[in-house]
């Protein structure tokens, strides 16, 4: 077995998202241990059975609301205990929210920021502390952000601003760890369009839409190399380069 396919000890925050589930399946295939978290206990139980049949060495469940960040360090400690260590923390939860509503309803704006950014800060920091306390090789903290954070645009800029915050947070963490010997790695996926239940309300089709398993394959590779920012799929790097480089007087005429 090659180094990149060796089993991992994985904590997944938001394990019920389509992309998290697809990534977990890939890691189960190589006999990894898991602690999976989410709000719906029945759905976590269903996911646990699936991962075990697919080859997971063990799967423990923690039912929790990730907005309750007070328990973050305790969740990490329990994960370390359940798996006898920890080398992989995946932060996969998020919501698109409703931009139009967020412009009139401060609670919706607050919800988008809380789920996608402010709670994620706590989980990323707690995950970073937990990984720093471990000593094994190939420790990695991976987050799912979005290309929406690369340039604000009218259709989703509250969501975009939260994802921008998450991306910068991870960039900073990667910068810190790069200066240390034997530190974990921080990797931030910048996702484009993904065909998941979260995007079912949007008309899909065309070459820009990726499947959850396409993203999972990118995430799996990113656990061993690349980063700190990984566009998923890769072509978004060039799309966003073009979008960021578009002068405002042109960009303002485009309905995006």
């Amino acid at each position: 077995m090659t180094e990149t396919r060796s089993p991992r000890k994985v904590l997944i925050l938001g394990a019920l998202s389509a992309m998290a589930a697809a990534t977990a399946r890939r890691l189960a295939d190589r006999g990894s241990d898991f602690v999976i978290t989410g709000r719906n206990a029945d759905a976590l139980e269903r996911a646990a059975k699936d991962l075990k049949a697919r080859g997971a060495a063990s799967v423990a469940i923690q039912t929790l609301d990730l907005l309750e960040t007070g328990s973050a360090d305790a969740v990490m400690a329990q994960a370390v205990e359940a798996m006898g260590g920890l080398d992989t923390v995946l932060v996969f939860y998020g919501i698109l929210g409703n931009q139009a509503q967020a412009e009139t309803d401060p609670q919706e704006a607050e919800r988008i920021i809380a789920v996608n950014y402010s709670s994620a800060v706590h989980w990323v920091m707690a995950g970073a502390r937990a990984l720093e306390a471990q000593s094994g090789p190939n420790r990695v903290l991976l987050t799912a952000s979005s290309v929406a954070g690369d340039r604000g645009r009218r259709s989703n800029y509250v969501y975009g601003s939260a994802k921008a915050g998450l991306s910068v947070l991870m960039q900073g963490l990667a910068h810190k760890w790069a200066a240390q010997e034997n530190a974990p790695r921080a990797v931030n996926l910048k996702l484009g369009f993904v065909d998941t239940p979260m995007t079912d309300g949007i008309e899909k089709g065309g070459p820009l839409w990726a499947k959850p398993d396409d993203i999972a394959a990118i995430a799996e590779r990113a656990l061993t190399k690349g980063g700190p920012n990984v566009y998923a799929p890769w072509f978004w790097r060039f799309i966003m380069l073009a979008i960021r480089g578009t002068p405002a007087f042109v960009f303002n005429k485009v309905n995006l």
């Binding site: 295939d29 269903r46 059975k49 699936d50 049949a53 697919r54 080859g55 239940p197």
Partner: protein, 445 residues
């Protein structure tokens, strides 16, 4: 329109002849699937459960009604590598399943020519494979399933369940309820490879001789036929037999599917000349190889899965597939007649497969396989010219006492269906009243 259903204007089946509007729901869990069925009942909708949509004609379409796609019911519930009993949700594909079980030394009891079929679809069409003469059809290996209905709730169904519901669901075309999960008995394998024997077939008479001889020594047999050959060479082709190899490792197929066709092929891509060239090239390339070789199961069982969206080869008008089975007693004469008719029509097929089926009975009331010979062919849709040829083939099948495969069909007349499947009324009696399909309305009217 509720949240569960989304409008899809141009839904097609694998043959791509019919394009119709559907409201499509994709339940994310068995619980949600049950809730969607309640909504179907409350709103008096017409719905049809479907899997990966690989049926060719209209048995997986319900125009202007609803479809419930089960592809997100893709979780395993349990797999025991000691006994080879697998319990999984009905939307798990055979493609995914083999990647999970092959490394443990298990395989599907029988596999159709594509892995892109769900467990639910494999039951609903009671699929069969190259080992039918030994293993029977898929339904023979199903231990139990959970069935959700709009009128009777969620039922645990096994062969002992009173009232025919097990038998009506095997080959029941998804009409007896939505299958939530399945218990399947897998078969042990020692490697992921098969020892393959390939030999030329001079004509259709040779097929019958070789098929009988090889069935005794080989678990898997199939013939590919060059449909353009006539006269003394009518039915020429290659005969392939195989047995599981004793060694070679338990590596499953690659998760990545092959390159796809980005666009529809132009209409002229498949004419008589190109078909002939393709068939001959295929035959030559097979015969140039050593007669005995060791091949991976993916290449042996699922050669077309290497080309994603191969159905687009037939251009934007789509194609028909025609698959018949003729009972042994009349098979030789009827097969010759059909091949002759096809060769003379000049509408030769891209793929022509000929195989003997065995006598292991299926538990299903409307199972397609029976002891005899099955012929499967594709026909590019050239309008009335094509449907007229298929009607002529129908006449041969009807006279010979055969039947056509609903999974492949988008046009068979009601009388052919009802003669071929005399138990259809028992399935109709057990049909979930809210479930229907274009196929079912046509063949029962």
């Amino acid at each position: 329109m509720s949240q569960a259903f989304r409008s899809q204007t141009a839904k097609r089946s694998w043959g791509r002849v019919v394009e119709a509007h559907h409201d499509v729901a994709k339940p994310e869990s068995p619980t949600e699937a049950v809730a969607i069925l309640s909504e179907v009942a409350n709103r008096k909708m017409s719905a049809l459960p479907i899997g990966l949509g690989r049926s060719y004609g209209d048995s997986n379409l319900n125009p202007d009604g609803a479809l419930i796609e089960t592809t997100r019911l893709d979780h395993y519930i349990g797999f025991d590598p000691k006994t080879g009993v697998l319990r999984a949700e009905a939307g798990v594909s055979l493609n995914d399943l083999l990647r999970v079980v092959v490394p443990h030394g298990w395989f599907l009891p029988t596999t159709p020519g594509t892995r892109y079929v769900t467990l639910g679809g494999a039951i609903a069409n009671d699929v069969h494979g190259k080992n039918h003469h030994i293993a029977g059809s898929f339904g023979s290996h199903v231990l139990r399933f959970t069935l959700a209905r709009t009128d009777k709730g969620v039922l645990d169904v096994d062969p002992e369940t009173p009232g025919d519901l097990f038998a009506a669901t095997i080959g029941g075309l998804g009409l007896t309820g939505l299958i939530l999960d399945v218990d399947l008995q897998l078969v042990p394998i020692r490697s992921a490879f098969l020892d393959q024997h390939v030999e030329p077939l001079r004509n259709v008479d040779a097929f019958f001789e070789i098929a009988e001889a090889r069935a005794a020594d080989y678990e898997h047999t199939v013939a590919w036929i060059d449909c353009t050959a006539r006269g003394d060479r009518l039915g020429q082709g290659v005969f392939t037999s195989g047995n599981w190899a004793a060694s070679g490792g338990l590596t499953p197929h690659d998760a990545k599917s092959g390159p796809g066709l980005p666009v529809d092929a132009p209409g002229f891509a498949l004419n008589r000349l190109t078909l002939r060239a393709f068939n001959m090239t295929y035959r030559r390339s097979q015969l140039l190889k050593p007669r005995n070789s060791r091949v991976h199961y993916a290449g042996f069982f699922h050669p077309l899965d290497a080309i994603r969206d191969w159905n687009r080869l037939y251009g934007s008008r789509g194609f028909y597939q025609y698959q018949s089975v003729i009972p042994s007693e009349t098979a030789r004469e009827a097969t010759r007649e059909m091949l002759d008719l096809i060769a003379r029509s000049g509408q030769g097929s891209f793929l022509a497969v000929l195989k003997t089926l065995g006598d292991r009975p299926s538990p299903g009331l409307m199972s397609f396989p029976m002891r005899g010979v099955t012929l499967a062919l594709d026909f590019a849709n050239a309008g009335s010219k094509t449907t007229a040829l298929l009607a002529d083939l129908d006449a041969i099948v009807k006279t010979a006492g055969g039947r056509l495969y609903p999974a492949k069909d988008g046009r068979m007349p009601a009388d052919i269906f009802q003669q071929g499947y005399p138990e259809w009324e028992r399935v109709e009696a057990l049909r979930d009243p809210a479930l229907s399909s274009a196929f079912w309305r046509r063949v029962t009217s």
